[in-house]
């Protein structure tokens, strides 16, 4: 049990989580609920109850794609996507191994592409992702088709603002 979880997540997400009364409209419309270990309405109840360990180790927080369907339909106007984001941040800040490390690998590969080029370059980003996730074989055929159709250029297009971008990342890292 963690008494502070509700306050912490409420403040970081800016959402009035305490108002959730379990109507389950969020879970009824969630496109990802089949991949979740706890449906969104249960995630909300677990935050209210301070079930920190179970939440930070859950798959649900990583499978949410922030489509904002639940938040658009909630009768109390609670948006769950920011709640999920606050839980993801807490999981990484506390050094807990994410239940779905592959999604984390994808996000960090994306950020590295921006750090390097200022823009996203799909070919290098996906190679970094493959390396980080150790998931070498999936989608090779699709990648090849995209390449042959000219949708994945080999050479990256670099932004001319790289000095400024480096500075921003350095400042943020402090």
């Amino acid at each position: 049990m963690s008494e502070n979880l509700l306050d912490k997540v409420t403040s970081e997400s800016g959402q009035a989580i305490a108002l959730c009364y379990q109507c389950r409209k969020c879970s009824a419309g969630c496109p990802m609920v089949e991949e979740f270990d706890f449906p969104p309405n249960m995630v909300m109840r677990m935050v209210q109850l301070g079930m920190k360990d179970e939440l930070l180790k859950s798959k649900a927080i990583w499978m949410c794609v922030s489509c904002e369907t639940c938040g658009s339909r909630c009768p109390n106007e609670i948006r769950i996507a920011p709640v999920m984001d606050a839980l993801r941040a807490q999981c990484l800040n506390e050094g807990i191994t994410p239940a779905d490390p592959v999604t984390v690998a994808l996000h960090t590969s994306f950020i590295e592409s921006i750090k390097t080029f200022g823009r996203v370059h799909e070919a290098t980003m996906l190679m970094t992702y493959k390396w980080k996730s150790k998931n070498f074989t999936s989608d090779l055929d699709v990648g090849l088709k995209l390449f042959l159709k000219g949708k994945i250029p080999i050479m990256p297009k670099k932004s001319k603002n790289m000095a400024k971008i480096k500075e921003i990342f350095q400042e943020a890292g402090k």
Binding site: S11, E12, S13, G14, P31, M32, E34, E35, M63, V65, S66, C67, E68, T69, G71, S72, R79, A81, P82, M84, D85, A86, A89, V102, T103, L106, H107, F110, I114, G118, R119, V120, H121, E122, L126, Y129, S133, N135, S138, D139, V142, K145, L146, K149, G150, K151, I152, P153, K157, S159, K160, N161, K164, I165, I168, F169, E171, A172
Partner: protein
């Protein structure tokens, strides 16, 4: 009329044709898309927690660059860039504390002065769908189109404000202006599975199959979208869908600017249909839209 334009990374690579067709059509419609100089990535994800500021420094710089040019509007074609820029602008306009932190950090002066417009919105609010209808040279008569919105073009409604969340109509109005017939289908605002497609084939095919089946059952000949990621999930995932759902038959998925270009009688050869996994040309020929 000249509009500052932010293409975004993917429109230079995977979704080049969304961009090409959009630019070519703008000339036919009497306005110009003037690309921002030395733009950087918008970040592709809007940060949802209150204390995560770095992800907003990218889009804020883009908006501040637009203001620095002396412009008060910025046009985007990609749903993802539109979502990130529009929501960042919402914070810049309404949250004094976060605005101060971010603008101090990037050393720019910006208070949300720029209006972020999606290309569809520009057609509706600046050009007008009636004017568009008049400029159509080759009406897409007899073509039944499923207008797929997905998430990012619409939600969250309070920050985006483009159209209603459950039953938006901007896309259907656009399609009617082109002379085609929009079909009503219940999955038009459902999520395509987004980036989970990269590591979970079952998730991607489940979501895409639900959407495409819904469109087909409503009588659609093809699906249109504004989003490069939705286009990938709906088009490039069809061979996988066919593996797990043998009764499923293919349906072309185009960018809305490609249909706009056809209606404005731009040559089909330049519209990049060869880059679509499911070839739309047999259908377009059958309907007499492409010869």
């Amino acid at each position: 009329m000249k509009y500052p334009y932010f293409p975004g990374c993917t429109l230079y690579t995977k979704a080049k044709k969304l961009d090409d067709a959009g630019r070519e059509c703008s000339q036919k419609l009497g306005f110009e898309l003037d690309e921002l100089k030395d733009w950087t990535c918008c970040g592709a994800t809007f940060p949802l927690v209150n204390d995560y500021h770095i992800a907003m420094s990218g889009p804020t710089r883009i908006l501040a660059d637009t203001k620095a040019r002396g412009d008060d509007k910025l046009v985007t074609l990609c749903s993802v860039c539109f979502n990130v820029l529009k929501r960042t602008n919402h914070v810049m306009r309404n949250d004094e504390e976060r605005r101060a932190k971010i603008t101090d950090f990037i050393e720019r002066d910006y208070h949300g002065e720029v209006e972020v417009l999606h290309y569809l919105q520009l057609l509706r609010d600046e050009i007008g769908f009636d004017t568009l209808r008049e400029k159509v040279v080759k009406p897409l008569t007899g073509l039944k189109v499923a207008c797929y919105y997905g998430c990012l073009l619409l939600r969250p409604v309070k920050e985006i404000g483009l159209d209603a969340m459950e039953n938006p109509t901007i896309f259907e109005e656009f399609i009617r202006a082109l002379g085609a017939e929009p079909v009503e289908f219940p999955y038009k605002v459902e999520c395509c599975g987004a980036f989970q497609t990269v590591h979970s084939m079952t998730t991607a095919t489940r979501c895409s199959h639900d959407i495409l089946r819904s469109a087909k059952n409503s009588g659609a000949d093809l699906v249109i979208t504004t989003c490069p990621l939705c286009q990938f999930n709906l088009d490039d995932r069809q061979p996988e869908i066919q593996k797990s759902h043998t009764a499923f038959s293919a349906i072309p998925v185009l960018y809305f600017t490609q249909l706009l270009a056809l209606a404005l009688d731009l040559p089909a050869a330049g519209l990049g249909f060869e880059r679509n996994l499911i070839d739309p040309l047999p259908l377009l020929k059958e309907k007499g839209i492409v010869s």
